[in-house]
Subunit: 175 residues, 2 copies
């Protein structure tokens, strides 16, 4: 379901687009929130067309097909946002690693955490660059809130990894 919602959202935010365009939008615009490969996107778009949520215009060079959201599609999206009970379930390899940290030697755990902190610092810088590049007029456009959330999350992970590394180092020193 969420894939379908993400596609409807992108078609709302960016206007008519091809599967190829949407694949790239997944990478550039919404990758903080959801991911999908073209092999999942193309069949889903065809199903959505069959369900009347989008229209297809088969034209353009290289067999390009352009999809456009229909009124029914917009309705579906609104209903999902306003009426569907959100699923807050969460899967994260990073959190799984956090759970397992105590089975490592202190120095191993610290090294792992420092590497994580570094990776999240890089992501944070990337997201902040995107944010800075945004014209202030777009401050409330699509993606703005998701970007803010992504920045907060990257900062959280960086800080958590750094602080936890320091904490474990201190614990190790005491003994």
């Amino acid at each position: 379901m969420s894939l379908r919602i993400a596609l409807l959202g992108l078609l709302t935010a960016a206007g008519p687009a091809s599967g190829y365009d949407l694949t790239k939008l997944f990478e550039s615009s919404i990758s903080n929130a959801w991911q999908a490969r073209h092999s999942q996107i193309y069949p889903e778009l065809n199903k959505m067309a069959a369900d009347g949520l989008v229209t297809v215009e088969e034209a353009g060079p290289r067999g390009r097909k352009t999809y456009e959201i229909t009124a029914e599609g917009s309705g579906e999206l609104r209903t999902w946002l306003l009426e569907k009970e959100p699923s807050r379930s969460y899967r994260s390899e990073g959190a799984l690693r956090a759970f397992l940290l105590p089975m490592l030697e202190s120095h191993e755990a610290v090294a792992l955490l420092r590497t994580e902190a570094q990776a999240y610092a890089v992501r944070l810088a990337e997201l902040e660059a995107i944010c800075a590049a945004q014209p202030s007029s777009k401050k409330s456009g699509f993606g703005h809130y998701a970007l803010d959330l992504g920045i907060r999350q990257a900062r959280l992970m960086r800080d958590w990894a750094e602080e936890t590394a320091a904490e474990i180092e201190n614990l190790a020193k005491e003994t």
Copy 2:
């Protein structure tokens, strides 16, 4: 792969356990990091036994089977932690909702965010209660770091939802 790792981790943290026990441990201990249903856990344990990562003792009432991690299993877990490049990809319905917020009327978005903030406040309180109940001796045991991370994340979501609701409310007032 991550399911297998989570199971090995739980068997390391909690000692020998049945599939049923592990199903409950997923809910109580590691739900912040990963989730799995019994229908996924039982077959996976059998595969792991076939691969020599755990041993099975078929005994106990009601056909209960007890699984114990082997040296090979521990090795697999350590290798995963220390050598596998972490995947930082992330899927979250909450972030998807954040992306889509601008398509709603201000008052709808604000209502949605306030509900989210409330839900995350509840989760935060639950996690903090678990943390407070923990004896200080367990401060560095399994789950401790994951719990800290979970608390930070719940707080982040609550604050983000609240602040964003306030921001949208202000923007709406200005016009």
